[in-house]
């Protein structure tokens, strides 16, 4: 009896293992195979469309370039320090100069820039969308008034926003010693304009669909407006708000690449554009590495938001995926 039970148990585990790991691996292998075969059929002006092996090669090149650049930077600072130390030995009052390294940004620096930019846009969008969402969710009339505007602006492409944002940023952000690059601000604002809508709409819906009984509880308790919002409405809308935030972040990430391409913000979008303009035989491979990196980062951002959502969600019965 005991034996058979253990056996079925392991069988089950085995099949779970196959389902969770082997099936996706088979699908990936098939995908790579089809990609490799069809890529070899396409000849472009930049040579053959790269298959998985060519892309992998370019990926390791990019890693090597990054490592080399870091070594170069480290040795630059080493030399500078040495030079300054020698100067000080000769003359303790000598004026020493410390220069920062100004090498070309590597692929990984660019990923970091993109992440910083997308978070700036996303945080600004959330700071605007959540309060507006709460206020519009609380009043049906306000929701009705604002809804047409939201619906009108929601589907606008980042490429349409970008020229306007660029002009506004250039006109408004005038400074002799700018703290931020204009390209960074332009990209972040474009991300903000495109990704605030899902959060706004979901927050409004979450707030307006709070269980009527809970509202009655707050009436019986005579909770003040602020306590009602803080203790009942907000917690109850948290799952919806997070659904909105997740949608917003993935839209923001998608929009960012286009924005960076045109605004020339030194992130992944600029990398893709520069490689395209560069037009070497490696360019297509490098662009595909960027495509994969964009996908992986986007996936990780979504997982991160999901983890956060699971942590703050009080409704553990809902399966989040």
């Amino acid at each position: 009896m005991k034996l058979t039970r253990t056996k079925t148990f392991t069988d089950e585990q085995y099949s779970v293992f196959i389902r969770t790991y082997i099936f996706p691996l088979i699908a990936i292998a098939l995908f790579l195979g089809i990609w490799g075969m069809s890529a070899s059929q396409v000849q472009t002006s930049l040579g053959q469309l790269p298959g998985p092996t060519a892309v992998f090669e370019q990926a390791s090149n990019l890693v090597d370039e990054h490592v080399a650049a870091r070594e170069k930077e480290a040795s630059f600072y080493e030399r500078q320090e040495k030079r300054n130390a020698e100067k000080l030995v000769k003359n303790p009052d000598a004026e020493i100069k410390v220069r920062t390294y100004t090498g070309k940004a590597t692929f990984f620096d660019q990923i970091l820039t993109s992440l910083v930019t997308v978070f700036t846009g996303f945080v600004m969008a959330s700071l605007i969308a959540i309060p507006i969402g709460i206020i519009t969710g609380l009043s049906n009339d306000l929701y009705r008034s604002i809804n047409p505007i939201v619906q009108l602006l929601k589907p606008v492409s980042p490429l349409a926003w970008l020229p306007i944002v660029t002009m506004v940023v250039s006109a408004v952000y005038v400074s002799d010693d700018p703290m931020f690059d204009k390209s960074y601000l332009t990209s972040a604002f474009t991300v903000m304009l495109c990704c605030m809508w899902p959060t706004l709409i979901n927050t409004a819906v979450g707030v307006s669909t709070v269980d009527k009984d809970l509202i009655n509880v707050s009436k019986v308790l005579r909770l003040g407006w602020f306590t009602k919002v803080y203790k009942i409405i907000l917690p109850s809308a948290v799952p919806m708000i997070f659904t909105g935030l997740r949608l917003s972040l993935s839209i923001g990430w998608m929009v960012l690449i286009a924005a960076e391409m045109l605004a020339q913000n030194p992130g992944l979008g600029k990398f893709v554009w520069d490689e395209f303009q560069n037009g070497s035989s490696n360019s297509l491979g490098r662009i595909m590495v960027a495509v994969i990196a964009i996908g992986i980062v986007g996936y990780m951002l979504d997982r991160g938001m999901l983890m956060l959502q699971k942590k703050v969600s009080w409704d553990k019965s809902v399966v989040l995926r």
Binding site: D213, N216, V220, L221, R222, I232, P235
Partner: protein
Amino acid sequence: MKNTHLNIDHISMEFPTPDGPYVALQDVDLEMREGEFVSLIGHSGCGKSTVLNVVAGLYKATKGGVVLDAKEVNEPGPERAVVFQNHSLLPWLTAYENVELAVKQVFGRFNSKQRKSKAEMKEWIEHNLHLVHMDHAMHKRPDEISGGMKQRVGIARALAMEPKVLLMDEPFGALDALTRAHMQESLMEIHADLGNTVIMITHDVDEAVLLSDRIVMMTNGPAAGIGEILEIDLPRPRDRVELSGNAKYNHYRHEVLQFLYERQRRPGEEVAAVEQEEKSSPALKVVKTEAA
């Protein structure tokens, strides 16, 4: 009636609909003593909940009004605590925190007459959870406890407001028979201890007879009203097993059943029955005045 504590004074309720106003309640009139336990019974849609919501202050009666201790009720408030049918606990708070929200609101404010200190509030919250036998699961959240336990916490939350009137909207409707019996026992204990005035809506004839001092039987809507009021003259404490053999108890049960299933059939069951109902309603009004 002397010593009127709660006076539901000839209330009528109309709801606007696209086809003109819908009269839900017509001239409901009831006076209650302090500490009295009254059940409202009637078929679904007869406006029981509407009466309760008007007393709670969640609805405003179209005509008439509610007076509690010589003060008119025109908004909801913690002195008329409501136990909702589906417990209505905040799912993100533990049992303790749910009761705490109510206690802080009633006793924690600076302008509150019955202001309690932090330690007193903690003790009071724990005392109320103890009253409904929830000490062991105080720090669990609603999704971690059973339906009966949730309803207990809902009752504790209502009791913790020290209400003058406890309004219960089918509090045990969603529970299984055994849990329900258990909850009824607890409620009788609490009522004996605290002597709150209670209005309870129920569908359950046994529950109504077991718990109430008076049973208010309501006629079917639209324009529902009080059909008959049954005075339950059984000594307390009451024991359900003993009572099941009691002739008086069975007589009361029979009265309620007869009212519900012979005189007030479900609306739309038979056209003939409805017509008969309409003919018999003047007679019912006479009975009502006798009972009052």
